[in-house]
Symmetry: none
Subunit: 207 residues, 4 copies
DNA sequence: TATGAATGAGTCTTCATTCAT
DNA sequence: CATGAATGAAGACTCATTCAT
């Protein structure tokens, strides 16, 4: 064939996705993927370097998006925008973040489930650990900027307190995915979430 | 003989604990446990039914404690005590819970680490999923009781909102363990945590 | 078309040569050859029957030359020349042989390296074993002729002694190639080699 | 079983030796070894870490002996003995070496065949390359000492010339093994070999 | 001619568990 | 109780070659 046959590759990815979702990465065997996708075992290796690459490829879109979003906030070029945004309440900051995650869930629910719960044994095993750390840094930046702009809100939070709230935000979406909450319901709950977070942070700043 | 036996059994458990902590459940082999603990491979099966039982036995104390605590709150016998407690603010409720967890960490930090992060492949893999669900039920009970006693706080929270706060509490301790936060530091952060939660809940109730 | 074809074929051969040199025959895969030479994997089989043929083709010139040289000496037609040559000392015989090999090294160093050290798994694996045996026969012939012509040098050498000297000559060039000795240096060493061999043979004949 | 069962381990080694001899290291599969030795495939790994270890274990005695012999000559403690020995002719030196190798062949013919011709793919693949280099160093030492003690024999040989003679000595025994020469015959040929070498070296020294 | 997919048998290695002693 | 051998099934991955287009 003159042209790259891709339907097979897609078959493999789809089958693998199903199997990974059902059994997790390490409990899914290449043989299984081959048989269930109707492709010869050896042939899989014409499309993918190894089992790990299959997982990564499935999960790539979410990972890319998450990393882009994180980078975007770190981008010094956007600092203008960033500081303007500081005028608004942190509620809006949180709200915007939440929306971003909701969009992700809408598009990549299954892939996020893979990343969150089924990556054991793959190179993505610790993705969210790394991701929360990077995101925490972003939030710290946001808060220190907020502190400079609004000195009346002067309060130095413990690093771990900041960290835990980042983790919580991610945990929030983790649980939405785990319990297969619908997007509509998720959106409703988010207002509770934001109310909660805003009130909490304001109270912390008072002290 | 009985003495010798428990000696060996403890050796195995201690070695296994170390290895599980280092490599996780599924990446630790019985051979490794045998060699590192100086016990014959086959002999391990005189003490433990299988690899899974070793893990369970190591983790048993924490699991028992966590389950007891959960059951205690569900126990109808304790309902008197329970309702008395309702008079106090939820801050105290949270605080008491937090203390309970801190005590656990103090006593069983390594075992909790195992349960949280190293159980992949064992029957305890989903322990915390199950545990949060049960705990959520407990919290729901608490809140509905609170609602009856203090109707002025009348507000029906979304089940998922309740759930997420349970998860967050547990996540809080999860992160303390993951980042190896000292108990002293943990105690300090907890006040932030309680302030936050209290303010949040009060705000939610207002609406 | 014919032009294009030989172009491709050469690409393959050159790439294969490099890879064989680097990793040996059996540790070089057809895939590797295909990728590194920019030719489609399947297409290679339009030019070569199989992996072995690629190796043989690379090594063909040396093999042909070596075989021709060997045959030439066996050729009855040349017996005249051969016997004339016998009048000279064996030193010159050795010297001429050595020059022949040096010429080979000059032209086909890499291919000889392949034949000597990288043929494991190919049909050429035992080429030099066979080659030394054939060459030994030639030398035996030479010596028995010498014996007839110069009876004063009458001495029947053990077949294995003759054999070992043939092997040694080849080993000599094997080591020159292995240690990447320059041709100039090689030529210098060869005089040592010839001195040595001549003295040795003369001494053996005396006994 | 309380005691280490070793007959199995020996079975494996013997079978493996046969197969390695017949097909070479890389063309012998673990399955083959398992089946032919009547041991379960997995069970082999209770005795040996991997295929390479099997090969090494078979070949260990020869390797050890060769290395010991080499080290012995390098041992500074023996320098006295060494210098005394220098008074004798190099013929004796060669003769002693040759005897040492003959003893090895007598005891470990098959293992030497493995090392020489069947190690491709194992970690012993380049053993003789390394061994000749080390031995060459030893010979250089011998010659430079000889040079000091007997200045009348003053001649600085080219390093490669020394090297090639070491290789030749080893090649000598390589060919004895390859052509399955009997020990008795080997011993006869050796006198030719020594005559040859002595005459050669003497001639080289004259120049 | 050219391509990359497909095949199919093969590679070594791992491991929880059971067995014989 | 103790031991290490034995089992048996599974694991990921490789690769020369042929096939369909």
């Amino acid at each position: 064939m003159q042209f790259k046959k891709s339907y097979n590759s897609d078959d493999i990815l789809k089958t693998a996705e199903k199997l990974f979702l059902k059994n997790g990465f390490s409990r899914t065997s290449m043989r299984d993927i081959a048989e269930k996708s109707g492709v010869g075992l050896g042939n899989i290796y014409n499309y993918f370097k190894n089992k790990d690459e299959i997982f990564c490829r499935i999960v790539e879109p979410v990972v890319k998006t998450l990393e882009n979003e994180t980078d975007k906030h770190h981008d010094p070029e956007n600092s203008d925008l960033f500081f303007t945004e500081l005028q608004t309440m942190s509620a809006q900051y949180i709200s915007r973040q939440a929306e971003a995650y909701l969009t992700l869930i809408k598009k990549h629910r299954r892939q996020m489930e893979l990343l969150f719960f089924r990556a054991e044994g793959s190179s993505m095993e610790k993705f969210f650990e790394r991701f929360t750390d990077r995101t925490t840094e972003k939030v710290k930046l946001f808060l220190s900027a907020l502190n400079q702009k609004l000195p009346q809100a002067a309060h130095t939070f413990d690093d771990f307190t900041i960290h835990i709230h980042t983790v919580w935000m991610i945990t929030f979406f983790r649980e939405i995915i785990m319990h297969k909450i619908s997007l509509e319901k998720a959106r409703n709950i988010i207002s509770d979430y934001i109310t909660f977070e805003s009130a909490g942070w304001l109270e912390l700043m008072k002290r």
